[in-house]
């Protein structure tokens, strides 16, 4: 499968990446490489094989329902680029 410019820009948008014109060709080649490599898997017959979603074999790594706040609001907001001591602030997202 060949990745075209439109697909590249769609992927970039979904990842909120700003792809500059000079970077396009290198990225296209790189993505093509990955896809070609993955396509080798299509040669295998996977008829009747359940999809594998996790590889460790571990299951039921759950916890009991116990609540505990360990982070103060002051600490929680400390690294935010913009905050007012109560809320985090971002540029307005709706009109």
């Amino acid at each position: 499968m060949k990745i075209d410019h439109d697909t590249l820009h769609k992927l970039a948008h979904l990842a909120r990446l700003d792809v500059k014109p000079g970077e396009e060709e290198a990225l296209l080649a790189s993505l093509d490489n990955v896809l070609t490599w993955m396509e080798q898997l299509n040669e295998l017959d996977t008829e009747g094989v359940e999809p594998l979603t996790h590889v460790t074999g571990e299951v039921n790594n759950w916890r009991e329902d116990a609540a505990e706040n360990r982070l103060s609001r002051h600490e929680a907001l400390a690294n935010a680029p913009s905050q007012d001591g109560t809320y985090l602030k971002v540029p307005k997202v709706i009109e």
Partner: protein, 497 residues
């Protein structure tokens, strides 16, 4: 044919009736767990902004989610109550999108292997001539997912404020098939879901606070056709009434649009409770591409028979089971059973009363009459009613054995018991001289006095004016100062006349 343009407001019933509405719902319920779905932060509504947060909730590097077992149990409870198939092997997926209320850039949800598949909720629909039929509104599935944070848009013109207390709180989402056909049915469906989650103790069902939320998909099609029309998703309804209004409005709007020769656009619309209308969002909707994939941070969940059995053994009685029990074991009418199971608290109270007296229908009458009016007037709920079930049962017994008249019991004894909950009904009745006079000889004297005072009425009665009986009973009651047992008076009068 007129050329004027139709609108949702002006379109007539005749045109509307040519179309059928097809409705499917996505209902989100916030689960009543102590902690969040994948982190230990406190799960509570209404606390100070950004105080129930953790490094995981804020998506700081180096954190790993860990599933709350209770949330899983609650989802299974809902599935069991709705006859769903419980998935014995379930996984979590990432739903990827960017929005400031979602710090990770993805929501942990379930896509390919949701916890419950199928099942549904029976909804009673009124047919013609007052008949009622039950129809199963099928679930596509129920899945578990985490909620997003809360955005505050009206605090400033240039900035959006974010509170992450809600981020990561556990939700179940019930996705229905497009089985609903009217606003009324949709209202009944959501009411049933809300009742059920409250019975199951898994969600408080508070729509104002957003612990039960609902997105509605509405389309219309000409009656008799099978192909679905283009659907519109409507959001932002915070009550069952508003959900019904939104469906009704969409039906009218879409039919008017089609009758004007227009086409329906697939879009998300917001409901405005002030105007009762829906409006398209100006935000440009790009095609959603969530790129779901299994979350590698969360291993699969495998439900054992033993654990499922444990959950089943902890299931409370459900509304339909109680309705069945009330009509068959207690012999009360089906209507009473529906009213008594409207809330779990009233159903439990009724059951407790029935453990102390066998006059089940009387108990039902008390709950549907005197007690219901009292609760409505005062705004109290039955859980804090000062008159406990055993005390009410004693009061019912006093009425049933003729010691107290029903009017004295409801109008005097009940208010007195509310004021002095510690006293026994019998003691109160004796102290206040409320006991009914069942002394036959005393009452016979009164009956004779009354009848001899109005010979013309007696003559009229004997000629067939049987309606005068009420007058005679009333006169005797008056003479007794309201203490006579009306049934006994009736018997004595019958004998004398």
């Amino acid at each position: 044919m007129t050329t004027s343009t139709l609108s949702a407001q002006t379109i007539g019933k005749e045109l509307l009736d040519r179309y059928e509405t097809v409705i499917g719902l996505e209902v989100h319920c916030q689960l009543l767990t102590e902690s969040k779905l994948f982190a230990a932060d406190v799960n509570r509504f209404g606390t100070e902004p950004n105080t129930n947060v953790s490094p995981l909730t804020l998506a700081l590097p180096g954190t790993l989610p860990k599933l709350n077992k209770k949330a899983l149990e609650y989802a299974v409870r809902m599935g069991l109550a709705c006859g769903s198939t419980i998935s014995r092997h379930t996984i979590f997926d990432r739903k990827n999108y960017f929005y400031p209320d979602l710090p990770k850039g993805y929501q942990i949800s379930q896509d390919k292997a949701p916890i419950c598949v199928g099942g549904g909720i029976a909804v009673a629909t009124k047919g013609n001539e007052g008949t009622s039929t039950e129809r199963l509104i099928r679930f596509h599935h129920i899945h578990l997912e985490e909620d997003a944070g809360k955005s505050v848009h009206d605090g400033s013109d240039t900035e959006t404020l974010l509170d992450y207390n809600r981020a990561g709180t556990p939700l179940i989402e019930m996705v229905s098939e497009p089985d609903l056909r009217s606003a009324e049915e949709t209202g009944t469906y959501v009411t049933e879901i809300r009742r059920l989650v409250r019975y199951l103790d898994i969600c408080d069902g508070n729509m104002e606070e957003g612990s039960l939320r609902c997105d509605v998909n509405v389309s219309v099609r000409p009656v008799g056709t099978l192909a679905y029309g283009t659907k519109v998703e409507v959001k932002n309804m915070n009550s069952i009434r508003n959900i019904m209004r939104a469906v009704e409005y969409e039906w009218r709007r879409q039919v008017a649009l089609l009758e004007n020769g227009g086409t329906i656009t697939q879009e998300t619309r917001m409901f405005d409770a002030e105007t009762g209308q829906t409006y398209g969002m100006r935000v440009k909707e790009t095609m959603n591409d969530y790129r779901y994939f299994p979350d590698p941070d969360l291993c699969p969940v495998v439900l054992s028979d033993a654990w499922l059995d444990e959950i089943k053994s902890r299931m409370p009685a459900l509304p339909h089971e109680l309705r069945e029990k009330f009509t068959t074991s207690y012999g009360i009418p089906a209507y009473d059973a529906v009213v008594l199971t409207e809330t779990k608290e009233v159903a439990i109270y009724f059951e407790e009363v029935c453990a102390h007296t066998q006059h089940y229908k009387s108990a039902s009458n008390w709950l549907m009459g005197t007690i219901k009016s009292y609760l409505n007037e005062t705004g109290h709920d039955i859980g804090t009613l000062p008159v406990t079930p055993p005390v009410l049962a004693q009061l019912i017994e006093l009425v049933e054995d003729g010691t107290l008249s029903i009017s004295t019991a409801t109008q005097k004894a009940f208010p007195a018991l509310l004021a002095e909950p510690g006293r026994s009904p019998r003691e109160l009745a004796e102290a206040n001289n409320w006991l009914q006079n069942r002394n036959t000889s005393e009452l016979e004297t009164l009956v004779e006095e009354v009848l001899s005072a109005m010979p013309d009425k007696v003559a009229a009665f004997q000629k067939g004016k049987k309606g005068l009986m009420g007058l005679f009973v009333g006169e005797v009651m008056k003479k007794s100062g309201g203490t006579a047992d009306p049934q006994l008076v009736n018997q004595l009068l019958q004998k004398k006349l």
